[in-house]
Subunit: 273 residues, 2 copies
């Protein structure tokens, strides 16, 4: 499942440190998490807008907003007006990087995930162009209206270097092969809806999970902050102050439809613990 | 208020064209808008997160997320860990650009505003450093916790080139002097709350504005899409399909507190039109 066993490297690389939180009262084995390569793929799969950096004619690095799709390898597909500055930049110098950030970040955006993919753009051959165009339209349905415009060009960013930041102290570099080989999280698209459902209708179950499986028997409130194929991240209230924990599923979820069963199993396990 | 009379240049520079919308049934003088320089300043004032492009050591342009504050001149202030890749890049090559996008974009993000500020970063002298640090903390209050860390450095981006994109077909380049001289919109911070209030409690007034002041007597529904110091942008429903119009205030609003009075005046004027 996890194609790489490398744990995230912890380093002091982003502004600030997380606020000190009360530690768990009971030791628990750390819940499984996505690998950095999987985190990177999940981010790229989760949205269709990123910021591109290119070399501008006057020598400055140029940041601009772009829409993108992605191939099965996770390579971003760009479809840009040849009149746009970033398109002219790519014609002159194909080196680029794309940063993709969590589309619905927490209020503290530097605590949210983002990834930079650096590499060289190429125009696809006719066969790949068809695949790339389909991938772009799947991500950006409004593109159908201008897909045949002659002043737009299709580019694929060949990813050579990946830098993922998950938030304060969670970050890693990912080699290009691991990035290509990793799976985008199959529950990524369903996660926001599932999170909302849990918080609205199952706050009681979340609290029991935190108390009996999450190491915080003194939790007085629990809300789900995020869901991925490996488990739930919970924000907690305790008499000792706000805290957070992570609860792992019994086994990784391999399709969006499996999320419900995995969560129900967690709730049952918590209640009988 | 408008420091430049240059209207936005319309060009085919972003993917796609706006969907064709039914034209107004009554001609109206175009409502006043922010100048491109004012749009750029409003965007920079509206959020504390952007994407920075720098030159990486291996020659690639490097895109990464940063928090920022800004000086009264609109110059972005960065406060970055010297261990972060973008910080190492700036030490080696001070050329950079920062893209700032509308924090709460519409669902079609390419229809939303964004601006690229390109220039050269400099370390401020001690006097300016104090002002810059205050500006950064005002924008990023959590920075108080690491303001005295020795492995963080303060940079000011001296803005040399500005490219603003307001959405489909609304864009312009802004010279550095106009950018510096323009005012950030005083209602920018209050706009989201005011928009929500109008939509929740005054949908009837918005509809009358659209019908009697906006050139769409056949509008059957109106919601406020955005508010700025010069007026309201309305999204409309009509029997001819979805449409949009803009209604100008009687005079520009010069402080956030003036928004309510200006909107009430519009509603009265519409009802007596």
């Amino acid at each position: 499942m996890s194609e790489s066993a490398t744990p995230p490297v912890f380093e002091h690389d982003v502004p600030g440190t997380p606020p000190a939180i009360p530690p768990p009262l009971e030791d628990r084995a750390p819940a499984p998490r996505r690998t950095p390569a999987e985190e990177a793929r999940a981010l790229v799969a989760s949205t269709n807008v990123g910021t591109l950096a290119t070399h501008s004619e006057d020598g400055y690095p140029w940041a601009s907003l772009v829409a993108f799709g992605s191939l099965e390898t996770g390579a971003p597909v760009l479809f840009v007006s040849t009149l746009a500055e970033h398109a002219r930049n790519l014609e002159r110098d194909p080196r680029a990087s794309l940063v993709v950030a969590t589309p619905h970040p927490r209020s503290d955006v530097l605590a949210s995930g983002r990834v930079t993919l650096a590499g060289t753009v190429e125009r696809p051959n006719p066969e790949l162009a068809e695949v790339a165009r389909d991938a772009y339209v799947e991500a950006v349905p409004t593109a159908k209206a201008y897909l045949d415009f002659r002043d737009f060009s299709l580019w694929i960013l060949g990813v050579e270097r990946v830098r993922w930041v998950g938030g304060y102290g969670r970050m890693d570099s990912v080699d290009a092969a691991s990035y290509r080989a990793a799976e985008a999280d199959p529950v990524a698209r369903a996660a926001a809806g599932a999170t909302q459902h849990l918080n609205e209708d199952h706050a009681d179950a979340l609290l029991v999970m935190a108390q009996r499986l999450g190491g915080y028997p003194d939790a007085t409130g629990a809300t789900c902050a995020s869901i991925d194929r490996y488990g739930l991240d919970l924000d907690l209230e305790t008499a000792r102050g706000p805290a957070a924990t992570r609860i792992g599923f019994a086994s990784p979820v391999n399709e969006a439809g499996g999320l419900r069963g995995a969560t129900v199993e967690l709730a049952r396990r918590a209640r009988s613990a």
